[in-house]
């Protein structure tokens, strides 16, 4: 078949870079997203996820590199890109002085949908996110979760080819988060749309995404399906806290084990964790190193991140990049 390659990628990014002054928020990022998939961008706060999304949605101009969204260049044809995409931002962007229906009606109009189609579509999307009975209530009376659902409904209302969700469940409680995940999955089933979502919640990436790009300090450090990313480091992950970390670390490395030093201790990835634990003890005993604690769990994308960077994803949130903090304050 001749055109398969062309039609399967809806987003194509090549060496995309964004500088804020001297600070590179996104550095030479390249990837492709296939039509119909849920593509996750996972990384700590300040990793460059939002900057990346803003470049793909034409809100920020890249410093260098190239990006095609739905076949259009984000720099040369921003108007066409905007027609093809929907976005749900991290921060709320609803008009709280209007009702849910009016917000959607406004949206339909600025995307040029005609009256009949608009009315049909409004009831359709409200139904999909379970807000049909709240259509004529002012948005300022909505809870956080309801507002987010309405934003998602609005994001895909105009039949975008690509829907960007920037931290769709940020700041929501666990139950509401699961609720939103269900709606996103339903959306993928019912609508012909490709979804790109950024998140710093491991569970979100693992539960929702077909493929995940792990991003840190503006670079993609791993990209694959969730299963393959996990398999790559071994199915188990062991955390050990010992007295003399660096000595033990070198010792383990000499045994050809995947080890990385974390803030708490050492993390070891293995395909057979249960059998490795006794080995760790005998090794420690032989070299008179005292083990304080050992824990074994199934490896997650968090461990992939730790193994690649030596840091945890969540810990980063407190120690955001100083440049990013300044930038956020200005807005």
């Amino acid at each position: 078949m001749l055109f398969v390659e062309d039609s399967s990628e809806i987003i194509k990014v090549e060496n995309l870079t964004k500088f804020f002054g001297d600070f590179a928020a996104v550095k030479e990022v390249s990837f492709e997203v296939e039509r119909g998939e849920i593509f996750g961008i996972l990384g700590p706060n300040g990793a460059g996820k939002t900057t990346l999304i803003k470049m793909l949605s034409t809100l920020l101009k890249p410093t260098s590199g190239k990006a095609l969204v739905a076949g259009y260049d984000v720099v040369k044809e921003p108007q066409n890109v905007r027609k093809s995409i929907g976005i749900v931002f991290q921060e709320p962007t609803l008009d709280v002085e209007l009702t849910a229906r009016e917000n959607l009606d406004f949206h339909g109009r600025i995307y040029g949908m005609d009256g009949k189609k608009r009315r049909e579509r409004i009831s359709e999307v409200l139904e999909l996110v379970g807000l049909s009975d709240k259509a004529d209530i002012l948005v300022k009376k909505f809870s956080g979760g309801m507002q987010r659902r309405l934003e998602i409904a609005r994001g895909f209302m105009h039949f975008p080819k690509v829907l960007f969700l920037d931290e769709p469940t940020l700041g929501l409680d666990v139950q509401t988060r699961r609720n939103i995940w269900e709606y996103i999955e339903k959306l993928r089933r019912d609508e012909d749309v490709t979804i790109i979502l950024t998140t710093h919640y491991i569970e979100e990436a693992e539960n929702l995404c077909d493929r995940v790009a792990i991003i840190d300090l503006g670079r993609i450090i791993a990209l694959d399906t969730v299963e393959r990313l996990r398999e790559g480091i071994g199915k188990d992950s062991i955390e050990v806290v010992v007295e003399n970390g660096s000595v033990f670390e070198n010792l383990l490395k000499s045994q050809n084990l995947k080890v990385v030093k974390t803030a708490d201790g050492l993390m070891i990835s293995a395909s057979d964790g249960e059998k490795l634990i006794p080995r760790l003890f005998s090794l420690a005993q032989k070299h008179r190193i005292e083990i304080h604690s050992v824990s074994l769990k199934k490896s997650s994308l968090e461990d992939v991140f730790v193994l690649l960077t030596g840091r945890k994803i969540r810990e980063e949130s407190a120690a955001m990049h100083p440049m990013m903090r300044i930038k956020r304050m200005r807005k």
Binding site: Q79, I85, P92, T93, E97, E102
Partner: protein
């Protein structure tokens, strides 16, 4: 590039929000009402030298206070784009396919419309207080209100592009809108100013707006009404061009 439906929908949104904010509609008429009532009572027997004896102070003041309402409401609406930016809604508009020029024009016309409605409400209130304008002159006053409203909504939009956040709002009101108001001849004829201050009033577009309003409503003016019309008219066109250019350049990160 301007999309008419885009202008219309932004205008419609402004009107919907205006109609719903009843407390703001009434609240913002409070200060001008007290200006009119108390200044009118306090100075009712005062004779202003440059004012012909047959014009009562309340008749002189009312067109000025109506202009004041239009000035404040329109500047406020223009600058309120900063609120949209703060509360995120501006982003929803900025990622949509409609052009920046459309957005700036839609906001300007929406804000101007609400300012004109406020102006007519104030006119009605002043009627209750005892102001009796020429009914036919109200048609002319409508033209001047439109020009004042567009000028200062546009100016508000232009200022909003230079503001980082809503904290600058008070600054704009106190150091920009109030001087424009006091230097416009809304409260007393600009002829009463000392020479060097009067000089500034000639560069104040509102001076011509107020004078045009006064000519329309009570048939008294300091300048030729045609000059009033030209001055505020040219200024409004100039402001629209400047504000769309400035708005076109803004980035919403």
């Amino acid at each position: 590039m301007v999309e008419a439906y885009g202008v219309y929908i932004l205008w419609l949104r402004d009107l919907k929000r205006y109609v719903r904010a009843r407390s703001r509609i009434i609240g913002s008429l409070g200060m001008p009402l007290f200006f009119l009532a108390f200044l009118g009572m306090g100075f009712r027997r005062a004779q202003i030298p440059s004012l012909p004896g047959d014009i009562s102070y309340i008749d002189f003041l009312a067109p000025g206070v109506v202009s004041m309402v239009v000035l404040f409401t329109s500047t406020f609406s223009g600058v309120s784009i900063v609120w949209d930016r703060q509360f995120g809604f501006l982003r929803e508009i900025m990622v949509s396919p409609i052009s920046r020029t459309t957005i700036a024009l839609g906001r300007t016309l929406g804000g101007a419309t609400t300012a004109i409605i406020q102006g007519f409400l104030m006119l009605a209130v002043s009627y209750i207080i005892g102001f009796r304008p020429d009914p036919i002159g109200m048609v002319y006053s409508f033209v001047f209100m439109v020009l004042i409203a567009i000028s200062f909504t546009g100016l508000g939009v232009a200022i909003s592009t230079l503001m980082e956040d809503i904290h600058g709002f008070q600054l704009v009101i106190n150091f920009f809108v109030f001087p424009i108001f006091f230097l416009s001849g809304a409260l007393f004829p600009v002829k009463e100013f000392p020479e060097f201050i009067r000089f500034f009033t000639y560069f104040n577009p509102l001076t011509y707006g107020v004078d045009g309003m006064r000519w329309s409503l009570i048939h008294y003016s300091e300048f030729n009404p045609f000059i009033d019309f030209l001055a505020i008219g040219i200024f409004s066109i100039f402001v629209i061009i400047i504000s769309t250019i400035l708005f076109d350049r803004t980035e919403v990160g």
